[in-house]
């Protein structure tokens, strides 16, 4: 059975009584603000006709410009349960929130002409952080030991904590570190004498 192909001619104009009104103020839609509205929207509620019209406008714009269709904010679209929406939003808020002085911190390296910035939230532990730093700054950082610090290393990672003191990276538990670290400084090994090691 062959499918009929229907070509819809009148995407741009609808023969129904659509009122082209302004979108409500609480949506960030890029729908064109049609000024040919015959009825002003007194409250912020959009009628379906306006909605359809705005979407038809979006569609017709798209046909003309071949641009991807914009997503407008509509009540209840996409149709996702409020419970699910709340959970996802909470999770995303949590992951992008900064709590305390962690998160994006400046990284300076002795001898480098400019500073870098890294997001501490991106790393899960010291191992990952040092690997990331070594990768970014192309420097050699030795292995941490509680007794010797990074003794013998070409470069030594240090950080400024909440109190303004310069500390050796690796002494405190990771979670404590990311919550107190304000900035990082990769010191030359030769200058790091006296910091946390004998």
């Amino acid at each position: 059975l062959e499918m009929e192909t229907i070509y819809v001619n009148d995407l741009n104009m609808k023969a129904t009584e659509l009122r082209l009104g302004l979108p409500g103020t609480d949506n960030e839609s890029d729908a064109p603000q049609s000024s040919s509205s015959s009825s002003c929207v007194k409250n912020n509620k959009r009628s379906s006709s306006e909605m359809n019209a705005s979407f038809q406008n979006i569609v017709s714009e798209q046909l003309q410009s071949h641009a991807p269709a914009q997503k407008a904010q509509v009540v209840g679209w996409p149709p996702v349960r409020s419970y699910r929406k709340n959970v996802i939003n909470d999770q995303q808020k949590k992951s992008s929130e900064s709590d305390g002085c962690g998160m994006f911190v400046k990284v300076s390296m002795d001898g480098a002409p400019f500073l870098r910035k890294i997001d501490l939230k991106f790393y899960n532990n010291y191992f990952d952080l040092l690997r990331g730093l070594k990768d970014m700054l192309k420097c050699k950082i030795g292995v941490y030991s509680e007794r010797e610090g990074y003794n013998g290393s070409e470069f030594v990672p240090t950080y400024e904590d909440k109190d303004g003191d310069w500390m050796l990276v690796g002494d405190v538990p990771w979670d404590m570190f990311i919550n107190s670290c304000k900035r990082l400084r990769i010191m030359k090994g030769s200058e790091a004498k006296g910091l946390g090691c004998l």
Binding site: P79, V80, R81, Y83, Q91, N125
Partner: protein
Amino acid sequence: MCLFQCIMNYFPEEVLEHVFDFLTSLRDRNAVSLVCKSWYNVERCSRKKVFIGNCYAVNPELVIARFPRFQSLTLKGKPHFADFNLVPHDWGGYVQPWIEALAKNGISLEELRLKRMVVSDESLELLSKSFPNFKSLTLVSCEGFSTDGLAAIASNCRYLRELDLQENEVDDHKGHWLSCFPDSCTSLVSLNFACLKGEVNAAALERLIARCRNLKSLRLNHAVPLETLQKILVQAPQLNDLGIGSFVSDPYTESYFKLKAVLQKCKSVKSLSGFLDVNPRCLPSIYPICTNLTSLNLSYAPGIQSNDLIKLIIRCKKLERLWILDTIGDKGLEVVAATCKELQELRVFPSDLHGVGNAAVTEEGLVAISAGCPKLNSILYFCQQMTNAALITVAKNCPNFIRFRLCTLNPVIPDAVTNQPLDDGFGAIVQSCKGLKRLSVSGLLTDQVFLYIGMYAEQLEMLSIGFAGDSDKGMLYVLNGCKKLKKLEIRDSPFGNMALLSDVGKYETMRSLWMSSCEVTYGACKTLAEKMPRLNVEIINENEEMEGRPKDKHRVEKMYLYRTLVGARKDAPPFVWTL
């Protein structure tokens, strides 16, 4: 008296009842009830499970009168579109009168399953105290209660086997509801409190799990720490279904190693869900479980990126059910298609609910799945874009769809390649999938798609429409064509009075019709209500400024009509008018 009657009279009712015991399906039981009076009587007295798809279609007294010995009740309240904020609070759907009536009439209730209903703490307390044999409570998308109500259930239901809370809005008083399970409670088989926000007493939880040796299903909320999870799993290696709320740990710590070891022993876990909080680096500890999984729900785990998802899924060769976020991407879906040959149900939810939708999936993912998973019969797919060609291919690959729900993030987006409406694509789906029972359409659609649906969707029971169609003809095609239609819900579409009033008798064959932001007028709704006394035609009026009733020619913003045996409901709030 016919021969049949003579033969049947030889069998005493006990025998008939015994035969009917083998009929578990609701449809079969309804069918035998229609055969003759004696069968009707035997069946009604022996029916144990009662299902009420719309709590306002009947009242408790009628149900009790017909089925005096039922033990299990399923009730659904608000219309489906209430899920998407289209139904105001306080619309209705209260379970209290049901519990009161059942208690008063001595029904020996053992199981209660509620969906989209308002459940108060008072109701839960009454429930817990009125039915000594009460065993199983399932609440899906309900609201109105707090952890105090749960405390009553825990305290008073001595033989509780199942407490299943799915996606409810619960007021969490951070009390000790879980600690209210007495030490004598050892009967729990299923405990799901994943939707609760507050903490539970970890020690009480551990002791509860330890003494419930028959526990098969456990879904924790995100406030349960990893150490507790580890201790629980040591006590309950027999679990079939596990929901992990929070999975955050430093993978180099001892507690993580312990957890990893105990997870390796959980050989019977077939269903896994949760991961609201997750450190993706800890996921490898889950790998041993993956090989046996038949059901995986990661749709609440936006913290797991595509490559980590893929590493998990590639180990899940036995998967039959998969719920994920669209962060998986088309590439990830190709991996699913290559790996999960037993897949029957797939749901892909949107991860980005506000903005530009960078992470979304497209028609390519859907086509890949359809090609790789021959057993696929149920899909919910939120996508950035779709094409007719893709849908036609999907229809060819998967003729066995029972549920097909497609949701384009832009509700009126046309075919991404041809810019045509998506009529032909959906047309192919309904033509190919002869067993299709549930369909949701989206994208740019004209009346044509409804012509196809009316023509081919012979088994269709539920249809969801939004921002679609050009004229009344669209709705008429559906009403005239889909003989088995039970639920029709329409929003923001240009269907009006002509379609609404063309076949008023049709609505008595259906459970309900929802129309919002369409073109039906107040006058037409009144006409319909007058003609059909066994329908409740409800208008939801949210315009507080309006004085008195609207004029006949005014458009109705929200209309919900349903068949009922008991007339207008008495608990309707002031903004709901039953015409």
